[in-house]
Symmetry: C2
Subunit: 350 residues, 2 copies
């Protein structure tokens, strides 16, 4: 798969990241870090003294600045646009706040509430994110990839139905049992909205996108196949048709990985629970794999980080491997641990 938007325009500028995602040989593996723009960085915390999270994510200029902060500090191979998975939802008339996770003003818990959602004009979907992508694109070094992202329809539905992040989302699971048709209509709406949003991100300048699915693991495989898969698949298909490469990140759903691996995506990202080498052995001929150092190890300091990185590099074949953590970097991570990770990955090129 070489059909990324960037590749079609100027093949010579394809980044290390883009090439690894297409499973081409590269001088070393690319590295980026889930939540690399965020609270573990002193420069981010300084901005947060002046601005709330919603202000940062809501302003194209500030979001672009936050996106670039980790790139200025570390030689990472990809930037990911700073936004929230909830950012596109105001286009459906949904109001929310952060406390610190998303809290939805009016949870969706009936078929009527699903059917009352307005049709969204794709140009009204998170214009600040689209503008921030254009701003970052101008400043980002040519060798650094720019990633867009969205939340998976199921994960967005989880917050919309439950109202907020609650352990194991029991209201969501009850809604799935009681109102499966309404839930499917909600997922279908979210799937279409996310496809439009990701395609606009591609037009604005990202060469690849990552879909974050945080809560798929709440479901049995049979329920996931029936309820969730069709909507995730149609979203990914539409994005691929638009020439944008796709990474699917599935958190805490080890029983679904084999099901996910069959979805249309160039890359499969998994958390630290999964044996990445075994995943690569099963799917490495068709998918790049991304991950999966336990982010908690970085909080223990540079030495455990270096050991974990070296062990990962040793176990997972270089070709088609994008190095990352198995989940977001934690707020109490020392910057020195990230430096140790960068050094371990860069040492491979020497």
């Amino acid at each position: 798969m070489t059909g990324t938007a960037a590749a079609r325009i100027s093949p010579e500028t394809r980044t290390l990241f883009d090439r690894a995602l297409d499973r081409e040989p590269t001088p070393r593996r690319p590295l980026w870090i889930n939540r690399q723009a965020g609270r573990y960085l002193p420069e981010y915390r300084k901005l947060r003294e002046r601005y709330g999270f919603k202000e940062l994510a809501g302003s194209a200029e500030l979001a672009a600045e936050v996106t670039l902060q980790p790139i200025r500090r570390f030689p990472l191979d990809a930037a990911i646009i700073f936004a929230d998975i909830m950012s596109p939802l105001p286009a459906l008339g949904i109001e929310f706040d952060f406390a610190p996770g998303p809290v939805v003003a009016e949870p969706i818990r009936s078929a009527a509430a699903v059917d009352a959602l307005p049709e969204a004009d794709s140009k009204s979907v998170a214009p600040e994110v689209i503008e921030a992508i254009a701003l970052v694109r101008r400043e980002l070094p040519a060798h650094t990839a720019l990633l867009g992202f969205c939340g998976a329809p199921w994960t967005l539905a989880a917050y919309l139905v439950e109202g907020r992040g609650v352990k194991d989302f029991p209201r969501l699971r009850a809604f799935a049992a009681e109102q499966p048709r309404a839930l499917e209509r909600l997922l279908e709406r979210l799937s279409r909205l996310m496809a439009a949003y990701l395609i606009r991100q591609g037009q604005a300048g990202v060469s690849a996108i990552q879909v974050f699915d945080s809560w798929a693991g709440l479901l049995s495989r049979a329920s996931w196949e029936r309820l969730v898969r069709p909507h995730l698949e149609s979203m990914l298909h539409a994005v691929g048709e638009a020439g944008i490469s796709r990474i699917l990140f599935v958190n805490n759903a080890p029983h679904l990985v084999e099901a996910y691996a069959g979805l249309p995506a160039e890359g499969l990202a998994v958390d630290w629970r999964i044996d990445l080498r075994a995943l690569q052995e099963r799917h490495g001929d068709r998918r790049a794999v991304q991950g999966n150092i336990d982010p908690a190890i970085l909080t223990a300091g540079p030495e455990p980080t270096r050991a974990a990185a070296e062990s990962l590099l040793d176990q997972v074949r270089a070709r088609g491997h994008i190095v990352n953590l198995g989940h977001g970097v934690l707020p109490n991570t020392p910057v020195e641990s990230v430096e140790a990770l960068v050094q371990a990955v860069h040492r491979e090129a020497q």
Copy 2:
């Protein structure tokens, strides 16, 4: 396996539950419910108006009363002693409170803190629980089994190191990376303490115990095999040697189920994420299986509950199946849903 303490004393009194756990044919499947003594019951909430949770669990008389409440209301096939997984830990000098989950006064985060734990006299381990078991035994109908329980060593260590239930327990994972030897010593101590505690429960009158492992799923299978398995195995082995039947309940760890299934236990209980029929096909010749209706479905009312129960009974072979939920019954569960579940299970005998 027919060597339960109760069985050796008086074979003719073996309950439906005990026989199903030994995979003998029974006129219908037995049923009990994780957290059946608790907040969904009006009579429990009434007691909680007068007593705090710690008071209820700390008094043998009150704990016995709470244990018996669901048995008086529903024809369940087993009672489980009302206690907390933290109940045995004061024997190690550990102080904690509930808010509402356990909060440890001084989290264990160094090798020195592990090594400073005092040796416990097995008679000092939760004497109120042992006394409550004897009280319940006197009042419980002969056809109703009495179950003891404990938290798995890893799950107890999770609270002791993290200090409280925090999403994904990052300090625990960092401690495992930084101080694996100290963590192993902690697990070894907890394993010995829990074995002694479970054996005393058996002597006091339970015929079987359930081990609750809530947080094993935080680990990759390789880490689990290395760090956790030996201690869980030695605990289960010691309990089996004492003639007590064992059910191992693993929550949210679908990638570990095949590893767990090899541990010494008569029964394997899993959450709603797992296909119980497939589990039974793989292990039903050596293990009873227990579970696994999604407890969220019960909050949706009697009709969805009945449908879920009938589907489970239809899919899973009766012999060697103990019906239960896939996790604790939720506080907002209507009593009518539990009645619908009981009816669906009892209908099988007709």
